[in-house]
């Protein structure tokens, strides 16, 4: 079975632009979470979606938004990009439900903002 997939792998954007990152969960998983990992730090939680509903949101500005589609894939959108948004963006899927359960991470999208 395929694992979590993310696209694109790498992305270079200019300050002020908008970016959309995509994630497809493991087949049968209904929960998708997004994390941001800045160089040298551990991943930081951004969003969690379960059955197309937002279940949790981390301490990120409103420039960050996400959604989950009927096939459980997800998009992360970031508006008005700042240099500090440069990071590895990780998507994780799990069977979800009333807790986190075991999470499986995709390979990530490396975003560079210039």
């Amino acid at each position: 079975d395929a694992g979590v997939t993310q696209s694109p792998t790498h992305l270079i954007k200019t300050r002020g632009q908008h970016v959309t990152l995509r994630c497809s969960p493991i087949s049968g998983h209904k929960s998708v979470s997004w994390y941001q990992q800045v160089l040298g730090q551990g991943p930081q939680f951004i969003f969690q979606y379960y059955e197309k509903e937002e279940r949790g949101r981390g301490n990120f500005p409103d420039r960050f938004s996400a959604r989950q589609f009927p096939n459980y894939s997800s998009e992360l959108n970031v508006n008005a990009l700042l240099l500090g948004d440069s990071a590895l963006y990780l998507c994780a899927s799990s069977s979800g439900g009333t807790s986190i359960y075991e999470q499986y991470f995709g390979p990530g999208t490396r975003l560079t903002v210039t």
């Binding site: 979470s33 969690q48 590895l88 807790s99 986190i100 991470f105 390979p107």
Partner: protein, 109 residues
């Protein structure tokens, strides 16, 4: 919120050596995972271990939830074990993992 501390921050070993990585957390958790992040950034699941002991080949892990810590044991280390090891915890009723700062392991041939 829950604080997660990992130790040691850096570790250099000779191939074949054993090591113990520690994860301390500040509050009760009902989810805990250990990950290995490879040089390309991929987080690889090692253990889902909110309590108890598990073993997988040369790796084993123990979580003592009542004392708020977890240990990851690596035996007979290999150069491919190099990378960053993260502990991530989730509290009751939350939907997010909080990651520690990681242990950076380098295994020398």
């Amino acid at each position: 919120g829950i604080q997660v501390e990992q130790s040691p921050p850096d570790l250099i070993l000779q191939e074949g050596a054993n090591s113990t990585l520690r994860c301390n957390f500040s509050d009760s958790v009902n989810n805990l995972q250990w990950f290995h992040q490879n040089p390309w950034g991929q987080l690889i699941n090692l253990f889902y271990i909110p309590s108890g002991t598990k073993q997988n080949g040369r790796l084993s892990a123990t979580t003592v939830a009542t004392e708020r810590y977890s240990l990851l044991y690596i035996s007979s280390s290999q150069t491919t074990d190099s990378g960053v090891y993260f502990c991530a915890v989730g509290g009751l009723g939350t939907y997010k993992y909080i990651f520690g700062t990681g242990t950076r392991l380098k295994v020398l041939a």
